[in-house]
């Protein structure tokens, strides 16, 4: 029986400025803070004033650690965490 902490999947919806660097930062922070990328979708807003990004991550760490760091990014204008978890990935 593994003692490893259970990993959970989380989905974030993020509104950023319409800058490529916003995506770079999201991915850098996700990797550096120990979250595994499970999915990434993005599309520009209709008026091209921003990007709407759906980011799915997996980690055994509290998602608040990532949310708090992403919220600090200059290009992140709004962030919403969807609490629907995919459940434990490891026993």
């Amino acid at each position: 029986m593994s003692n490893a902490a259970k990993s959970h999947q989380h989905t974030l919806t993020i509104h950023t400025r319409h800058e490529a660097v916003a995506i770079e930062r999201l991915l850098q922070v996700t990797r550096y803070r120990g979250f595994t990328l499970a999915g990434l979708e993005l599309k520009p807003l209709a008026d091209l004033t921003g990007l709407l990004i759906t980011l799915s991550v997996v980690s055994d760490k509290p998602i608040s650690l990532l949310v708090n760091q992403l919220n600090k990014l200059y290009d992140v204008l709004d962030l919403e965490l969807h609490q629907a978890e995919a459940g434990a990935l490891r026993a």
Binding site: V21, E24, Y32, S64, N68, Q69, N71, K72, L73, Y74
Partner: protein
């Protein structure tokens, strides 16, 4: 005017009188605009030196430090300084020249993706594509560097933007500043006051965020009103008034025994602008195990990051500390902490004639002029400075805390001297660290900066060697520096006089000679390579499990 001239105009608009840097091809228009401008440029001899000088300037003064570099290698040389500023929350604006947009992305000469390189070691990095955006971007950079938790911001400006014509539009600043408001935290404040009233053994754990919030008067009033003992992090040394009898010193890996023991015993840890860094906590799971935690910080990402708080407040310490203060009856705890402090005081009765660095630094601390700024490097001497020197403000103790960057000290001492010319700037460095940015002696020579340099020389990378001795079976891999240069002769090559000492009875007269000399001076201090830093919390241990029973003269 040109974009380059606008950069200089905006520097003056932000009250920037001094900048540090090194010219090169892609930033030549800005250097041309600096020529005969009201902004004084200090030519450093390496861009990293310029970055650290900007940090020293900022940390000693509270103002934003500014550094300049050209594209490619100039910019990459800034990266370490930016990372240092990020880890220690120092407001710095770095301006880099970039190749013209016509050749951008073609691997042009001295082209590198500075924006991409710098993103992880700044609060944010900007690339200016259009000269019309230049003013707004630079203004945003200065605002961002100082706001919230301060930090470095980089602005990368292509050469064509520097050369493009643009009009300057003055910024109409709004001078009214809203008073800090903590009314939205009423519930948390009440909960914190309740915890303070219930506590029997409270302890204030003070970090660098307190002085950066300009809240030192409120902190000391809070400590007096509550009667709470206190400890500080490396960055917060000098925050607590010297007269406070319940201040126990620095906590953590090389903290005082009194501080570490008391923190392990506290039942309420009041964390003020600190972040539960691993050098502070030791084994996090065993840190202050019985304590409830009140955590106040300006950065939401620090709350509950490493230690869950029973009461967390995201806000301005200047406003929160006064409303939190509630007196408790901690007399038994106060007596206990006082006894710990008495019982575990420093010993300076080192036998023999060789110079004992802790005693030398105590003597230096006692003999240096009031309000001197002490910069140091990284390693054993850095910990001895924190343990044995006394400061009356965190702005008088510049130490690379988070990143732990060797080579920080000399350029930081230069920046400190330039920001506070009326005060004495002292560098305490080690023989390893000093060589990391030794080229900045040329900056001292060029500007005749009266920086006082104390090189603590054990001909070793002392801290690494200490760990090799304790934890790597004495296998001294690459820590022998016995082929060091003659430091006094080295200083002389930069027209800096110096003197070398190796015996205790030489110390006082040597310090007096250094401080009485009107210009820069280098004091070379030979110490025994077997001297170690004590106490030490070994890796993985709890802070009360300090190694203290191996005084070096008994080994």
């Amino acid at each position: 005017m040109t974009g380059a001239e606008l950069v200089v105009k905006l520097l003056t608009e932000h009250g920037v009188h001094s900048v540090f840097g090194y010219p090169g091809g892609a930033i030549m228009p800005i250097y041309d605009a600096l020529y005969q401008s009201p902004v004084k440029h200090y030519l450093c001899r390496h861009e990293q030196g310029g970055g650290f000088s900007a940090i020293g300037y900022a940390r000693a003064s509270g103002q934003t430090g500014v550094c300049l570099a050209t594209s490619g290698p100039g910019a990459t040389n800034l990266i370490t300084a930016l990372a240092d500023a990020l880890l220690d929350s120092v407001p710095v604006v770095a301006i880099t020249g970039q190749v013209s947009q016509a050749v951008a992305g073609t691997d042009a000469f001295q082209e590198v993706d500075v924006l991409g390189l710098s993103l992880t070691c700044t609060k944010h990095s900007f690339y200016v594509r259009d000269v019309a955006d230049l003013a707004a971007t630079l203004r945003e950079a200065f605002l961002l560097a100082q706001s919230g938790r301060p930090g470095p911001v980089l602005v990368d400006i292509p050469k064509d933007v520097q050369l493009a014509p643009v009009d300057y539009q003055p910024l109409h600043l709004t001078t009214a500043t809203a008073a800090p408001d903590c009314s939205g935290l009423a519930t948390q404040i009440a909960a914190a006051r309740t915890l303070l009233q219930q506590a029997q053994k409270p302890m204030a754990y003070i970090g660098g965020g307190v002085h950066m919030a300009d809240a030192l008067p409120e902190l000391n009033a809070f400590l007096t009103a509550t009667g709470m003992p206190s400890v500080t992090t490396l960055k917060a040394m000098g925050s607590v008034e010297k007269a406070n009898p319940l201040y126990l010193g620095m906590l953590g890996m090389h903290g005082t025994q009194a501080a570490n023991i008391a923190v392990q015993q506290t039942d309420l840890l009041v964390c003020l602008g600190a972040r539960f860094d691993d050098r502070v906590t030791g084994n996090l799971k065993k840190f202050a195990p019985e304590a409830k935690v009140i955590h106040i910080d300006i950065d939401p990402a620090e709350i509950n990051k490493l230690r869950a708080a029973d009461v967390a407040m995201l806000g301005d310490l200047k406003a929160l500390l006064p409303v939190m203060a509630v007196a408790g009856d901690y007399s038994a705890w106060q007596a206990h902490c006082s006894a710990l402090k008495q019982q575990h005081g420093w010993r300076y009765d080192h036998p023999g004639e060789r110079i004992f660095a802790p005693l030398l630094l105590k003597q230096l601390s006692e003999r240096m002029p009031d309000n001197s700024v002490v910069s140091c490097d990284v390693g054993q001497h850095q910990m001895w400075v924190a343990q044995h020197m006394r400061f009356n403000s965190p702005r008088n103790h510049l130490s690379s805390g988070g990143l732990g960057t060797m080579g920080f000290g000399l350029p930081a001492a230069i920046g400190a001297k330039i920001s506070r010319p009326q005060d004495t700037s002292v560098l305490v460095t080690g023989d390893g660290s000093f060589m990391m940015n030794v080229q900045e002696l040329a900056t001292i020579k060029r500007f005749r900066l009266p920086v006082k340099i104390v090189v603590i020389d054990n001909q070793r990378l002392g801290m690494v060697k200490q760990w090799q001795q304790l934890f790597f079976a004495g296998r001294y891999s690459e820590t022998d520096l016995s082929d060091n240069p003659d430091f006094v002769s080295l200083a002389a090559a930069f027209a800096i006089p110096g003197h070398s000492i190796s015996h205790k009875d030489e110390v006082e007269s040597a310090l007096d000679a250094m401080f009485s000399w009107p210009g820069p001076y280098l004091l070379h201090v030979r110490i025994d390579e077997t001297d170690n830093v004590w106490p030490l919390v070994p890796p993985g241990a709890a802070n009360h499990d300090m190694m203290t029973d191996l005084p070096q003269w008994e080994e």
